[in-house]
């Protein structure tokens, strides 16, 4: 069955980096280590695992970064090759599996992080023991090959595959019938935003600035509005559709990225020195992850404020003098797990499901492609903002129906039926 597989191939890695440099993000897919191949479904790693047939699988910024040859070398030891990308997945449980697993045919979303429980590590690390799988200390260990998440692990398969993936029962969340596939595929990225919005520790009345209004920026704003009580949310959004959506997600002020500094200054009634606001936002969320966005974020956060890295950064060159001088807290926000809300501990995915429904985040899914057209899909995702899109996904529903029909026909032929 058709799947997209990412191999360890340094020449192609270099070629992709070159192509994306000159052609733009996602443009290097054809020369990258990503190949369309025929794969069998992955083996179940253990008794508590089930097979999931993806319906929709999103293309994330981190996927693009990998395919563009731009991801940090930090990840080398926490991924295993070859892997099938795709960690934003809504799918169906495809065959009877582990006890307690959803019944075959049930729709599920997959909590892609591979923590201690999925890895069969007993006792679990302290983070996993507390339900904080995003902070797992054993992502490169256990009976599975290294891999932060499904979609980066050689043993699990990933969402960009008609062959499907395998997931531990602890990673599955049932999708209610009233939730569409488009909404469901937004749950995983929204869970990241939920986690980031809570990691930002926004106090009531705080001024929050959000750099970037792609999927992460928009879902972050929606999550923040749903889970916290900021005084004002200001968003720097590059494209008109992003600005409209940011307002719809609850931003108070939406401006072009180069105007965000000005808007924050006005809101904070700050002075300026050395290109930095002397006051500034209480919290700045960088939902881009570039050197430019980080520098911009640092210039508009107040002394002793918090800068949250929501978008995945790579190797960046950044002047940290102001961070030191102003005692700014720099805080990463990766993935999800268990969130500690006023109402008690809740899974990020549960909260994300609420946010997705409340803010109708299915509308952020702008385009769907079959895996065979992966080059177009990735080019579209890489230029999503410019092309008026937010989230681009692979649609495996038709492929799956076709494969099932073919398999059924083969079965009938083999059994001598007409």
């Amino acid at each position: 069955m058709k799947a997209l597989q990412f191999e360890r191939n340094l020449p192609r890695f270099a070629a992709a980096r070159l192509a994306s440099t000159f052609g733009g993000s996602g443009r290097g897919a054809g020369v990258s280590p990503l190949r369309l191949v025929d794969l069998d479904p992955p083996e179940l790693p253990g008794p508590d695992w089930v097979r999931v047939a993806p319906l929709l699988a999103g293309i994330c910024g981190s996927d693009l970064s990998t395919i563009d040859g731009r991801s940090s070398r930090y990840f080398e030891d926490v991924v295993s090759f070859p892997f099938v990308p795709g960690h934003e997945v809504v799918g169906t449980v495809s065959e009877p599996g582990a006890p307690g697993a959803p019944a075959p045919g049930s729709r599920v979303v997959v909590e892609a992080v591979l923590g201690c429980e999925a890895r069969g590590i007993v006792p679990p690390c302290p983070a996993c023991a507390a339900g904080d799988v995003g902070g797992c200390e054993r992502v490169a260990f256990g009976h599975l090959s290294p891999g932060l998440q499904i979609g980066y692990c050689a043993d699990t398969g990933g969402g960009w595959s008609a062959a499907g993936l395998v997931a531990h029962v602890s990673q599955l969340h049932a999708v209610p019938d009233h939730v569409s596939d488009e909404e469901a595929v937004m749950v995983e990225p929204t869970a990241c935003a939920v986690h980031a919005a809570l990691a930002a520790r926004v106090e009531p009345g705080d001024t929050v600035a959000v750099v970037g209004a792609g999927t992460l920026g928009l879902t972050f704003v929606a999550s923040l509005r749903h889970l916290a009580r900021p005084g004002a949310v200001l968003v720097g959004a590059k494209y008109p559709h992003q600005r409209r959506l940011a307002e719809e997600m609850g931003a108070d002020v939406v401006v072009e990225p180069d105007q965000l500094h000005r808007a924050v200054r006005l809101r904070a009634r700050s002075l300026e020195a050395s290109g930095h606001l002397t006051g500034g936002a209480d919290v700045v969320a960088d939902c881009v992850g570039s050197a430019e966005s980080l520098a911009q974020a640092l210039a508009m956060v107040r002394p002793r404020g918090r800068l949250v890295l929501v978008g995945m950064p790579g190797s960046v060159r950044l002047d940290l003098a102001s961070l030191w001088h102003r005692e700014v807290e720099l805080c990463g926000a990766y993935a999800y797990g268990t969130e500690h809300t006023e109402a008690g501990p809740r899974r990020s995915f549960e909260l994300a499901m609420e946010v997705v429904s409340a803010y109708r985040l299915g509308r952020l899914v702008s385009a769907a492609y079959p895996v065979e057209r992966f080059e177009e899909a990735l080019a579209h995702a890489g230029a999503a903002g410019r092309r008026g899109a937010v989230k681009v996904v692979f649609d495996l529903r038709r492929r799956r129906a076709r494969d099932s029909a073919t398999a059924e026909r083969s079965e009938r032929i083999e059994s001598g039926g007409a």
Partner: protein, 528 residues
């Protein structure tokens, strides 16, 4: 030959296309037959000997005032305030009228043995002038004698130590002005009265005031009740300033007012065609028009702006009067009217106007969209006496490129106003709810006090200036403007004048009457 008065020409088949300013360029527009073209009077003859005229005015004051030399005694504290860079437009060739007047005043002061003299640029909430601008306005001699010793100052409306509160008017308006000026034995104010609004009690009550004082008359309500603010008899802005001015006088501040008027000989020889009536253009005027238009069109906007802002106007002084404020101003106003007033028979459905590259608030700077609105709907629309030139529910068509561009040094709060206030509302009353935050923003205060920025509240004033027009008009159409910027202002963009007039018909009905306010020169309609 004496200058010809202004008049109204009706466009017919033989009328050549009409010249419109279009920012840093020009357009020739063929207006429909029957359109009235309003031309101002030709430039009045200048005073043959301005220095003698100034001396004469100081020695023969108007109203209840002694001649200036009699008011000057040794040991006294003398302050000379003068209009800032917003006047005249364009900046005039050296010597500037302010220089001529200030030099005379200083000569008298020196003769009287007065040695405590301070000069103050009456900025109100305008940007601080640069040294070059001060030197241009006052001349080398005055600048070099005063500036190095901190005796040439710029009014700082945000320094409490430099302000004094003189109490309230009978209408509970705060009167807070420059402390040095208020505590001087004599305050001499040197005006350039370019339009009828300038001068009178407004000189001190506005030019040397604080925000606390200004907000009583610089607001949407006052401007909506100033019909027009160029017509003293019907201007609430004028009335408020007069109440304050009289209160200032009653508080013991002795003001010796000097007002000057200029003729409308506005542009130098290479742009002389701007001042001529189109059907009287000589071959040389046509050639100058074609050459200037082509050159400006091919020049990068920044360079074109720089070229135009380097123009020094050949305007000359037509009158000077000095003495008691109200007596002086009455004479001045008559002189301004003599230069600018044109009788017009009745209102019009559609008023067209070409807007130039400059207004009082962008000297050596960018004419941003807010200033475009202010020049068109604040200044030009209000250049009437009697009835507005355009009828209620009528349309104003302005020609200007209206670039979405701001000078961040001069107009920082304008950027925020445009981005965050006008994006929410363009209603001048509604806009007012944001005023306090801008007026007290510490960054704007800092930039106003230490840089060359207009005060944080200034864009609000520009918008309030439009309040009367916005309440009166059915639509405002901008020809050839940046469409997004024009829409942000709440106006309608049009590509051509023909399109604009077609759009205007949708508002005022078919076969509208059209009147064009021809500028330059400055012209004020006396609508009968």
């Amino acid at each position: 030959m004496s200058p010809r008065p202004g008049f109204v020409l009706e466009v017919d088949r033989s009328t050549p296309p009409t010249l419109f300013w279009h920012g840093e360029g020009f357009r020739l527009e063929r207006l429909p037959e029957g359109t009235r073209l309003l031309y101002g009077p030709e430039p009045l003859d200048p005073l043959p000997d301005p220095v003698s005229a100034i001396r004469h005015a100081l020695l023969h004051p108007l109203g209840d005032s002694a001649p200036l030399p009699e008011l000057l005694v040794p040991g006294m504290k003398l302050t000379i305030a003068f209009d800032d860079v917003s006047l005249p437009l364009p900046p005039m060739r050296r010597p500037d009228v302010r220089q001529l007047v200030v030099e005379q005043v200083l000569d008298f002061a020196a003769e009287a043995g007065v040695d405590d003299v301070v000069l103050i640029a009456a900025l109100a909430l305008h940007r601080r002038m640069t040294d070059a601008e001060l030197r241009h306005a006052l001349g080398d001699r005055v600048f070099d004698a005063f500036a190095p010793h901190d005796l040439l100052r710029q009014h700082d409306a945000e320094d409490p130590s430099q302000l004094v509160h003189l109490g309230l008017t009978d209408q509970d308006e705060d009167v807070e002005i420059n402390k040095r000026a208020a505590e001087s034995d004599l305050l001499v104010y040197v005006n350039i009265n370019l339009v009828p609004m300038d001068g009178g009690h407004k000189s001190v009550a506005t030019g040397l005031a604080s925000y606390r004082s200004l907000k009583h008359h610089h607001n949407a309500r006052t401007m909506q009740h100033s019909r027009s603010f160029m017509d003293q008899e019907h201007s609430e802005l004028h009335s408020s300033n007069w109440r304050m001015g009289r209160h200032i006088a009653a508080s013991g501040v002795k003001v010796f007012q000097i007002e000057t008027t200029l003729n409308t000989d506005t542009f130098p020889e290479q742009f002389r065609f701007l001042m001529r009536r189109e059907w009287e253009w000589s071959p040389r005027d046509r050639a100058a028009f074609l050459a200037s238009s082509a050159a400006l069109a091919r020049t990068p906007p920044r360079l074109a702006r720089s070229i135009l802002h380097s123009i020094r106007s050949p305007q000359k002084m037509t009158s000077v009067q000095a003495g008691e404020v109200e007596a002086v101003h009455a004479r001045t106003t008559a002189n301004v009217y003599a230069q600018q007033l044109v009788e017009v028979d009745g209102q019009t459905d559609v008023l067209t106007m070409g807007l130039p590259y400059i207004c009082p608030y962008n000297v050596n700077s960018i004419m941003n969209p807010i200033l475009v609105a202010c020049l068109g709907l604040g200044y030009f629309f209000n250049m009437y006496r009697g009835e507005p030139l355009v009828r209620e529910g009528g349309v104003v068509v302005m020609s200007h490129p209206t670039p979405w561009e701001f000078n961040p040094v001069h107009h920082p709060s304008y950027i925020d106003f445009f981005e965050q206030v006008l994006s929410e509302t363009t209603d001048p009353i509604e806009v007012g709810k944001f005023e306090e935050a801008f007026a007290t923003d510490p960054w704007y205060v800092h930039l106003y006090r230490t840089g060359h920025a207009y005060h944080g509240v200034h864009p609000f004033y520009m918008w309030y200036w439009c309040a009367h027009a916005l309440a009166h008009l059915g639509a405002v159409i901008v020809v050839g403007g940046d469409r997004a910027a024009v829409r942000r202002l709440g106006f309608t963009p049009a590509t051509t004048m023909a399109d604009a007039l077609e759009m205007a018909r949708d508002v005022v009905g078919p076969d509208p009457t059209i009147t064009h306010l021809h500028s330059p020169p400055l012209v004020m309609a006396d609508v009968r």
